[in-house]
């Protein structure tokens, strides 16, 4: 009897959210799997048929422009670098803001959250303008304040890649900061006080108290942040003006986008998105096992 009530209660808690999710996601998900096994394309948009795994073979074996493996590697670098800075900057700022002695916290918090609040399209284009060689404010600041040579941000592949990463780090750190701020509140002050009495250093407190206790909240944010960043199309597309220079600033999702919307290769695009899906799934499984995210802390 108790068991039944327990189950009913859990069901009542969890089911409403899942009804919405399953309703919305299952059909597109299955559709996409079927599509990835089909030849749906410009010429076969209505009379498409299942052709097996041919689209997958194509992804891995046929040469593409730009090269699939290079783009894959770039996407991983993009994701790792972005996440690293999002988390490090976000958590650091949260720690700084969480100190008792700081005045004007509300003002700083609000200013720091602005990049999250501003509409992305216009600010991405503003950043692109800021990276311009002759007129961009970044080069103006570098040359006039620091006496450096101007950098051709958007003309060379490496610099362009750095430019899009800078833009996305700017856009993404406030989110992590807000999460970290929330997470820090779950740490009772007395833990720190006890540690101070024991003479623990700043680093020890961070390692032994702060990080373990914000982990349950940060891990989901980092996992999902990784997934979102991996699949982020807009920022790279806007700042690099659709892949400039010379199609060398692309992520995996740009491939999907181009395949589906520019070349109408729906089957191929669906297969590509399945590949992305599997990559992210494997990552999440490993990451969550390592961080024990599904288990409770207490």
């Amino acid at each position: 009897m108790k068991n039944w009530r327990h189950n009913a209660y859990v069901f009542f808690l969890v089911a409403p959210a899942f009804v919405i999710l399953i309703g919305v996601v299952i059909y597109p998900f299955l559709y996409n799997i079927v599509l990835s096994l089909s030849n749906m394309s410009l010429a076969h948009i209505r009379d498409w048929k299942i052709i097996g795994f041919q689209q997958y073979t194509k992804i891995f074996t046929e040469p593409s422009q730009p090269d699939f493996y290079v783009v894959f590697l770039k996407t991983i670098i993009w994701t790792v670098v972005n996440l690293f800075f999002h988390v490090v900057i976000g958590v650091s700022l949260a720690l700084v803001l969480n100190q008792k002695e700081i005045r004007g916290k509300a003002m700083f918090r609000t200013l720091l959250v602005l990049p999250w609040a501003v509409p992305q399209l216009i600010v991405a284009l503003t950043w692109r303008g800021m990276f311009n060689y002759e007129y961009g404010s970044i080069n103006l600041i570098l040359t006039q304040w620091f006496g450096m040579h101007p950098i051709a941000w958007l003309k060379s592949p490496l610099e362009a890649f750095i430019a899009v990463i800078i833009t996305n780090v700017w856009l993404g750190f406030p989110f992590m900061m807000v999460i970290a701020l929330g997470a820090l509140q779950s740490i009772p002050h007395d833990l720190y006080e006890a540690a101070e009495i024991d003479g623990a250093s700043w680093y020890h407190k961070l390692k032994n108290i702060t990080i373990p206790l914000i982990r349950p909240v940060m891990v989901p944010a980092i996992t999902l942040g990784t997934i979102w960043t991996f699949n982020n199309l807009n920022i790279v597309w806007l700042v690099s003006n659709a892949g400039e220079p010379s199609d060398q600033t692309h992520l995996m999702v740009s491939f999907v986008y181009k395949a589906a919307f520019n070349f109408y290769r729906y089957g191929y695009g669906a297969a590509l998105s399945m590949v992305i899906f599997v990559v992210l799934l494997v990552f999440s499984l490993v990451f969550m096992r390592k961080t024990k995210a599904t288990e409770a802390v207490y």
Binding site: L13, L93, L111, Q120, T126, T223, L233, Y298
Partner: protein, 280 residues
């Protein structure tokens, strides 16, 4: 002792420097967006660094409210975002609690499947999503878009709530149970208030997902009377003929409710007292 004091002063001054530098970095591009809104003749960029252009005018803001249905978009977006926020908070706070506190069959799978929903590139989901919504007669309805937005926001919110509940000791609930609360009462009288920071994050995140989303809205809302802010903003854009002045002005205004919401909620985001006082 003296050493300690000077250390503390050094730490605080370093903190201020970090905060000021990052605030400036955060502010600078946003100020540029504001500058765009002041420039006549739709100049997205400028060859000078001045913040207030010589020929600055607030005309764009006037046009926005008098000649364009900006107010309507603002209202539509507010309505949708508020409902999505309430849905997000209601469903994520309960589901997250279920995942945090109970063992049940399929729990891990359930948590994982939440992530799965986020792993697909959105571009490939548009076609099946549209077909599905047509069949359900949800095209051109707010209900359709609210369901879609809730579905996008929920996975993160549930995970995040679950993570936060995980940090609240079980002993608190047991104490509540002893005091004669039933299961539901312990949840919403004891745990719910303690999770205030996480609820704030859930609310902010749900609100932002609805407030800024464009791609799904463009597919679902085909009637201009139903348009939301991102759709409205997009209409200032045209291939090589964008009204950047209006776009900038609208962007500035779009930020205001977000900032206000953040300001009003951040009281609970950083309310450290709850946890300390109960746990102590």
């Amino acid at each position: 002792m003296n050493n300690d004091k000077s250390k503390k002063i050094a730490r605080i001054s370093a903190s201020y420097i970090v905060l000021i530098i990052f605030s400036l970095i955060a502010l600078f591009p946003v100020v540029q967006v504001f500058t765009i809104s002041l420039r006549p003749a739709d100049r997205l960029l400028s060859t000078s660094l001045e913040i207030i252009p010589k020929d600055a005018s607030l005309n764009t803001y006037k046009i926005l409210f008098t000649e364009r249905p900006f107010f309507l978009w603002l209202m539509n977006s507010t309505l949708i975002a508020v409902v999505v926020t309430l849905t997000g908070v209601a469903l994520a706070s309960t589901a997250g609690y279920g995942f945090s506190r109970f063992r049940f069959v399929g729990k891990k799978l359930g948590l994982l499947s939440l992530l799965v929903t986020q792993m697909f590139p959105a571009t490939m989901l548009l076609l099946p999503m549209y077909i599905m919504l047509v069949k359900l007669h949800l095209i051109n309805t707010y209900l359709g878009i609210i369901i879609m937005y809730s579905a996008t926001a929920l996975p993160f919110c549930i995970w995040q709530m679950k993570g936060y509940y995980d940090t609240i000791p079980m002993s608190l609930e047991e104490a509540g149970r002893i005091d004669g609360c039933n299961q539901f009462q312990t949840f919403y009288k004891i745990i719910f208030p303690l999770a205030a920071p996480a609820l704030v994050i859930t609310a902010l995140f749900s609100f932002m997902s609805a407030w800024t989303e464009y791609v799904v809205a463009a597919q679902i809302l085909q009637d201009t009377d139903l348009w939301t802010l991102p759709l409205g903003l997009k209409s200032f854009e045209a291939n090589m003929g964008s009204e950047w002045g209006l776009y900038g002005a609208a962007s500035v205004i779009v930020m205001i409710p977000v900032v206000l919401l953040f300001l009003s909620l951040s009281k609970w985001l950083v309310s450290g007292l709850t946890m300390g006082s109960v746990k102590g």
